[in-house]
Structures are given as C-alpha cells and as structure tokens.
Amino acid sequence: MPEDSPGAPNSPNHTPEVAMEDRKETLRKISSERWRIAIILSVCMLVIYFGFILLIAFDKPLMGSLITDGLSLGILLGALVILSAWVLTTVYVRWANRVYDEKIAQLRSKP
C-alpha cells in the first residue's frame, strides 16, 4: 500500500511549490519575450519614421529626385512608411495571436 504514505516522494515535480515556481518561470519567460518583441518593433517604427523625417530635413533634393516621371523618392518612401506601419503591426498581432495567447491560456488554466 504505497499510496498516501506521508512523505513518499512519488513525483517530486508535482508538489504545489514546484508547480508555482514553474508557472512563475514560464510567465517570466513569455513576459520578457513579449516585451522584447514589442520594444524591437517599436524601435523599428521609430527608426523608419525618423529616418524619413531626417531625410526630408537634411536632403530635400534627394527626396525630390524622380524615380520615374511623376514619382519622387520622397513620395515612394512616404508610402513605404505607411506600409511599414501595417507590416510591423501585422507581425506583432500574428505573433501575439499564435504564440503569446496560447502560452497565456495554458498558464491561466493551471491551478
């Protein structure tokens, strides 16, 4: 009758304390990953936008130079800034919907 003998180390990984530690560690990991991604993407957006603004401020002739008749480099880059905002947002939302939500849901369902 091995069951319920107090102190029997049947599965040390499932004591409540260890489960709590596991949960904390998993949360810490997913949390730091979430903020790392957020910060990297934010920095990308800042660099892209201020790169565009600084080019306008420092090199107007370059931004006004024509790529083809009717399209200047500045207009193309401006449209690309808008496009990059969409792309960065999509990257984050896809990651969060697929990876982050799942991990958080797993942690939530644990006791």
Partner: protein
C-alpha cells in the same frame, strides 16, 4: 485629361444646398435613432463609459479610426497637399506611426489594468488622490485644447459649406453632440464613430476613384499631370514645411507619442471584452487610418489638377475646401452635399468622443475616486457623469465662440504635445517600471502639462505667427523634443527620491494582470 473649371470660382459652397441638407438630416436622424436605442441600454457606469465591454475588435477598430480621423485631417491634409504637394505626407505619416506603438506597448496592458480611463492604470498601485488629480489635469488639458480646435474648425467649416453663421454652427454641433453623449453614452458615441468612419472612408474612396478614373487608375499619371500643371513649383519634393531638422523631429515625436497618450483614444480600449480584442482593434484601426491618409494624398493632388490652386486658395487660404471642391467638380452639387454632410458628421463624432473622455476624467477620476474616495452608489456616478458631460459641452461651446476668428491650428499640435509629455511617460512608467512612485507620476505629469503650455507660448507658433513678434525666446515650433524626454527624467528622478514601498510591492500584481486581466488571482 482636361483641367475643368479653372475660370471663376463658380461653386455652390456656402449656399445651403438641398442635397447637403437632406444628407445631413438623414445622418442626424439615424444617429439620434441609435442614441435612443443606446439610451435604453445605458443604465450603469460600465455601459456609460465602456459600452458594457460589448464592442468587437473590428467595430472598435472602425470607431478608433472614427475618433482619430478628424475634419482637420480629412480637409486639412487634402488642402495642404493641394497647395504644396508632398508636404502633406509629413503629417499623414506622423499621424499614423503612433498606432503601431499603441498596440506594441499600451493597448493590452491598458485594457487589463484599468476600468474606464487611463488614470486607472497610472493610479493602480499609487496613492489614488494625487495620481488621479495629475492624470485628470493632463486629460482635461489635452481634451479642452483639442475641443477648442475642433469647435473653431466646425464653426468655420459649416459657415463655409452651409452658409450658417459661425455661432449657430458651434451651438448646433455642441447640442447634437451632447444628445449622443448625455443619453447614449459610450454605446451611442461608438456607433456614431463607426457610421462616420464608414461614411468618411467610403466618401474618400469614391472621390479618389473618380479622381483617378481619368488617369487610368494610375496615381503616378495623376502626379505627372500635377507636375505639368505647376512646373515652377516642385510639387513632388519636400517644400517649406520642414526646414529646421530639430523642428521636424520635435513635431514628429509629439505626433507619434501624443497619439499614444490621447485620453479619448485610450478610453476606447475599455469598450472591448478583453485585451485580445483591444489588440485586434488597433490592427484594424492602423489599416483604416493608413488607407485613409493614402486616399487624402490622392484627393489633394486631384484637387490640385481638377480644381486648381488659385480656386482652392481663393475660397479658403489654408486650402481646407480642396476636398469638397474636388467633389463638386467631379460629382456635381449632389456629391458636394454628401461630402459636406460627411465632414459635419466627422466633427460631431470627434467632439462627442472628446466630451465623453473629459466627462470621465471629471466624474470617474475626480468626483468618484478623489472627492468620494470610491464609495459612490452607481446611480450617483451616472448622474455625475451626465452633469459633467453637460458642463463640458457648455464650456466647449463657450470656448468655440470665444476663439472665433483666432488661428487655432497650433492647438491640435499643442494637444498632441501635452498628451505626449504629460500622459504618455506616466502611462509607460506605471506599466513598466517597478520603482515608479506617486511623486514621480505627479511631478512628471504636472511638468509635462505646464512646460508644454509655457514653451508653446514662447515658441514661434504663438510669438511670431499669432502675436506678430519678430522672434521668439524658444526656437522650436513644437516643444516635444524637450518636454517628452524631460518628463521621463523627472518621473524617474522624483520616483527615486520618493521611495514608495506599497507601490513597489504591488508591482507584482501589475506583472500578473498585464497578461491575465482582472479575472485571475
């Protein structure tokens, strides 16, 4: 390609056209119908401030776009593009790039930590009274400046389009908007925003398609036509808007980070059921707003080619009537009437959203949590919220009339600068920094608000453009580059000087709640 109507400015603008009135009354009738429907459901504060958390991510995405795409961006950017070409793109991009930052850093924590206002998040682990007072000051400063700019814009615009006297226009906007907010709360306001966003995006899209039709749907052919029409003015290259690089960076910072600190935008994240829906709503909002700014760029060039700069600036020096004139030139008086009604609806919706967020700061932050320390029956909370809405609407109308004829363009920039310097740093520090304290929040927000107002006063925007002085003591038009970093520094230094044990301990709860929301542990 035949440049139409370049002779005398023969336009129906300013005469009350039957079409405009019909479209306008249809919009008013539908929006008041929605308000009636919403009023019957608005019986609690969670309904009044947050539409019962029952708005979906997609709907909130549209409503966020509706809140954000003001008449200033629709008419103002199209006008700026029509008169100076490329430069309009500087504003368009600046007003969009804050949105990705909102979804990366703010939307989900805000939804998970707060209840109705962004002050809920700042005050979460701080001493409620000082933190909420400071946040309410930041909110009310942002909201009132934005309201003045919108009200003055509304008065001028409606006068130009419908020929109504300025004061009458301001009072109409104030009263109709108050009906939405007072009776329908956030639910009615949200649906007004959604309808307005659909109308505005639809109207701009139809107008852009009509513009591009004669150019084989090719924007580059349209740009070519603009170059041929105005060969002396390099319309595809950056013009006068950005000359001093520091000015450009400062404006860019304020536009970008200010977007992430606008109280009426932040409040919208409480209308959705959870943080995932908050995230989804920014995804859609970024898509709609970016698309809208691309359209306004086309409309500006369309007006430049089809209407002509001399006609546009003869009707309004700032070019604000470029898009309506383009509508008239391509689609006749009926289409002009439709676009005029859309512009009116745009103003109403933005003003309603602003008033509701100001009312939330007055009632939820100041009355309920500061004066009554949170012990307030639901019925009293609702009553106070409604009294605050009426008061704000009256103040908005008075300010709108008081600022008649003033140049208020700088006030939108000022509102963004305060949002970026007072609200944004405190919000970020309270979510991410364990050692943030009540003292840090208080000093950072007060400094952000006051320094921004003082520096704008001493900037060329006020000293040279408005007071007509030869020079200004503070060299930059927008103080963002000074005030935003300093607000962060002051928030950090003041926190380090005023250690707050309870705030540090409660950060563990923040770290949980940021991911799980209020419903666990």
């Amino acid at each position: 390609m035949n440049p139409v109507q370049t002779s005398a400015p023969a336009t129906a603008l300013g005469n009350v056209s039957t079409e405009a009135i019909v479209f306008f009354f249809v919009f008013i009738a539908i929006s008041l119908g929605i308000t009636y429907w919403a009023a019957r459901r608005t019986k609690s504060t969670v309904q009044y401030y947050a539409a019962g958390h029952g708005i979906t991510g997609f709907q909130n995405g549209l409503a966020l776009s509706g809140d954000y795409m003001s008449a200033a961006s629709f008419l103002g950017i199209a006008g700026l593009v029509s008169l100076s070409g490329f430069d309009g793109l500087i504003y368009s991009t600046g007003w969009l790039v804050g949105w990705p930052l909102i979804v990366f850093l703010i939307a989900e924590p805000l939804r998970n930590l707060g209840k109705y206002t962004f002050a809920d998040v700042v005050a979460f682990r701080l001493r409620a009274t000082p933190a909420r007072i400071a946040a309410a000051i930041g909110t009310l400063a942002t909201v009132s400046l934005y309201l003045i700019a919108q009200m003055v814009g509304a008065g001028n615009l409606i006068k130009l389009m419908f020929g109504l006297p300025y004061e009458v226009a301001v009072v109409i906007v104030g009263c109709v908007m108050l009906l939405y907010v007072l009776f329908g709360g956030m639910l009615a306001t949200t649906w007004v925003q959604i309808i307005k966003a659909v109308l505005l995006l639809g109207g701009a899209l139809i107008l852009a398609i009509m513009t591009l039709w004669s150019f084989g749907m090719n924007p580059i052919a349209l740009f070519q036509a603009a170059v041929h029409k105005y060969p002396a003015q390099n319309v595809l290259a950056p013009g006068k808007l950005v000359s001093n690089p520091w000015d450009a960076i400062s404006l860019g910072l304020a536009l970008m980070l200010g977007t992430a600190g606008l109280p009426h935008i932040l409040m919208r994240f409480y209308t959705v059921p959870d943080s995932k829906a908050a995230r989804t709503s920014v995804f859609y909002a970024t898509g709609f707003i970016g698309f809208f700014y691309l359209l306004t760029f086309i409309l500006g060039f369309g007006a430049m080619v089809h209407v002509g700069q001399s006609v546009i600036s003869s009707i309004d020096k700032g070019g604000n009537m470029a898009a309506p004139l383009l509508a008239e030139s391509l689609g006749g008086t009926a289409f002009l009437g439709f676009i005029a009604a859309v512009a009116f609806a745009t103003i109403l919706a933005v003003v309603a959203g602003l008033t509701l967020s100001g009312a939330a700061a007055l009632s939820h932050d100041l009355w309920v949590n500061v004066v009554r320390k949170g012990e307030v029956p639901e019925s009293e909370q609702l009553k106070v919220a409604r009294v605050a809405s009426v008061a704000l609407a009256i103040v908005a109308m008075i300010l709108g009339i008081a600022f008649k004829g003033q140049n208020v363009a700088y006030m939108v920039g000022l509102a963004f600068a305060i949002a970026a310097s007072a609200n944004f740093p405190a919000l970020i520090l309270s979510i991410f920094w364990k050692k943030f304290t009540t003292g840090g929040a208080l000093w950072s927000m007060l400094f952000g608000t006051i320094a921004t107002i003082v520096l704008i006063y001493f900037s060329p925007t006020v000293q040279v453009d408005i007071l007509k002085n030869a020079s200004a003591p503070f060299p930059l038009k927008n103080p963002g580059i000074v005030t935003i970093p300093l607000s962060f520094v002051i928030g950090i230094v003041a926190s380090l000087l005023t250690k707050e044990k309870s705030a540090e301990e409660k950060f563990a709860i923040v770290e949980e709640r940021v991911h799980f929301g209020a419903d666990t542990h």
